[in-house]
């Protein structure tokens, strides 16, 4: 396998009792690119995503990351390998402050997290780094606020700051624009474009404006199988894709 690809799935398959949600999916994600996984509802995008992020066990097939088979690795091990995922619904810790949210990510890498006898003030040395990450996503100066009180767009930004604390090589984003107000979409897309430079992004996304703007490679799934792959221009001309998306192409 060539070094050009950071992530590859080989014949990835997932069956739930008699129903095959993902079937023989071969996906190749180019290093340092923005790759989108799209498809109509029920196409198996989320299942595929949850397989790659190890929240689901594959029935068959392999997931190769940096020349290593990760198809049996625990989900909690992925951050150590440089893979971070996000969730459809913004995933913050609502009853922790913004600073604590980001600091948890920094803390995880320090291997001090089982020390129940240590005072949490030993975490203060991480504050500077956490604050600069908050400032990067435009949340500087709000460190003490509770994450649960933030507006939705800012929660997305906070989530991104937490993700970036890991300096991930590969970011897996599950519908990063879902639920955002239209004025926030541009802002979060800008933020993604800026902060994810030099990293690889694989995202499931419905918003075609965002996909066409950010992603250089698009894979279309229908009924659990890969229908087409290419650039946005190629995909949008593909009659099979137009077919699968009837009623949706004009929206894009």
């Amino acid at each position: 396998m060539s070094d050009d690809f950071i992530l590859e799935t080989r014949r990835l398959t997932k069956s739930f009792k008699g129903f095959t949600a993902v079937k023989d999916v071969n996906l190749k994600v180019r290093r340092n690119g923005f790759h989108a996984l799209i498809g109509p509802n029920g196409a198996g995008k989320s299942t595929c995503f949850n397989l790659i992020t190890r929240f689901l066990e594959p029935t068959d097939g392999e997931i190769i990351y940096n020349a290593r088979d990760i198809s049996r690795v625990k989900a909690a091990r992925l951050p150590d390998l440089g893979i971070l995922r996000s969730f459809q619904i913004s995933a913050v810790f609502p009853r922790l402050s913004l600073l604590e949210n980001v600091r948890l990510a920094l803390q995880q890498r320090r291997r001090i997290s089982f020390r129940f006898w240590r005072n949490e003030s030993c975490l203060n040395e991480l504050n500077d780094r956490a604050e600069s990450l908050l400032a990067d996503v435009g949340l500087g100066g709000q460190r003490a606020a509770m994450a649960g009180t933030l507006p939705y767009g800012s929660k997305r930004a906070l989530e991104l700051a937490t993700t970036l604390a890991f300096e991930p090589e590969l970011m897996l984003l599950d519908e990063p624009m879902a639920g955002l107000a239209s004025e926030d979409i541009g802002r979060i897309a800008d933020l993604l474009e800026r902060t994810a430079r030099g990293r690889t992004v694989l995202m499931v996304e419905h918003n075609m404006h965002v996909v066409s703007r950010l992603c250089d490679r698009i894979t279309v799934l229908t009924r659990g199988e890969v229908l087409a792959e290419g650039t946005y221009a190629e995909i949008s001309r593909d009659p099979r894709v137009v077919d699968a998306y009837v009623g949706r192409t004009d929206a894009a």
């Binding site: 909690a76 992925l78 971070l84 969730f87 810790f93 001090i112 020390r115 006898w117 005072n119 890991f166």
Partner: protein, 314 residues
């Protein structure tokens, strides 16, 4: 002027009251409050700070009570070793039950804790060494560390107070530690905690063992205070009672379980004269409290304080 008590001041005041209390209140009642306050605080470490609802904590509390009563009475161990034995039994039980239940979620997890607690209850009830329905009575009060004569109830009170303070300090530290941060993260959003690389099952298991062990300290100490281990300590009603104490006092607050324990133990003491109507009266009071104070007594107090300080700053 804004009244803003600082925590050192409040802490000192509470400590002074705690030291002077046996001059005004019957020491055994105070010790009962302390034991249940510790039990509820240990329980709250799971419910309030990790998001795990156990409906079987009586097995740790009662199991430790039996272990300490047995080692002290039958095996002739000194008091402090008996309490340690109770703690160890509870923590071990917590390790086994924790392993089996934390992988489940929500109500399934809760039912597993209840099932194990019921098994423990019936096992102890039938076991040859436990005294059946009578429990283990007449546990001797041997001098603590060989010098402190605890047949004197005031001396015993100060020993119990010291045990309580040490354990409460440990709980406080656990909540405010790097580990406590992870627990709160798991409580708030478990999938996100996993995606950040935390092996949540191991954190939950450690929290479970800590909570079980500290509940064990409470149960073992109670056995020394009342000089007996009773089957009601293992009954599911005790598991329910500790949930109520936490609810009434305030889930996820540091002092809520203490207030809840004092409130409920005090109330049971006051209402004892009502005879059969105790349960009915208690039920009504709980219903009212849970419906009116959704954040518990401590939640209500901090709401009031916030409201007062807001009004004064306006």
């Amino acid at each position: 002027m804004l009244w803003r008590p600082n925590s050192t001041l409040v802490g000192t005041a509470v400590l002074v009251i705690a030291l002077a209390a046996p001059s005004f209140v019957y020491p055994v009642l105070l010790m009962k409050v302390l034991c249940f306050a510790l039990f509820a605080s240990a329980f709250n470490l799971l419910l309030g700070f990790t998001g795990i609802l156990s409906f079987g904590h009586a097995m740790f509390f009662g199991g430790a009570a039996y272990a300490s009563a047995y080692t002290i009475k039958v095996m002739g161990w000194p008091t402090e070793l008996g309490i340690l034995a109770g703690t160890a039994v509870a923590a071990t039980l917590g390790l086994v039950v924790g392993q089996l239940c934390i992988r489940r979620k929500g109500i399934y997890m809760t039912m597993i804790t209840l099932a194990f607690a019921q098994m423990t209850y019936f096992f102890v009830m039938r076991a040859p060494f436990s005294g059946g329905e009578d429990g283990l009575q007449y546990v001797p009060r041997r001098a603590v560390l060989g010098v402190i004569d605890i047949t004197d109830e005031r001396a015993l009170y100060y020993v119990v107070l010291a045990i309580f303070l040490a354990c409460f300090a440990l709980i406080h530290r656990t909540i405010h530690s790097p580990f406590g941060q992870v627990l709160k993260a798991i409580r708030d959003n478990e999938p996100r905690a996993i995606s950040l690389g935390f092996d949540v099952d191991r954190y939950k298991l450690l929290a479970f063992v800590l909570s079980a062990g500290l509940s064990g300290v409470a149960g073992a100490t109670k056995a020394v205070v009342f000089q007996m281990a009773s089957i009601t300590d293992l009954h599911w009603g005790t598991s329910g009672e500790v949930i109520l104490m936490t609810l009434v006092g305030g889930i996820g607050t540091l002092f809520g379980p203490l207030v809840g324990a004092a409130f409920i133990v005090g109330m049971q003491n006051r209402l004892a004269g009502l005879g059969e109507w105790v349960m009915v009266t208690q039920g009504l009071i709980f219903m009212t409290l849970v419906m009116v104070l959704r954040t518990g007594i401590v939640g209500l107090l901090s709401d009031l304080r916030a409201r007062i300080s807001r009004r004064r700053t306006v």
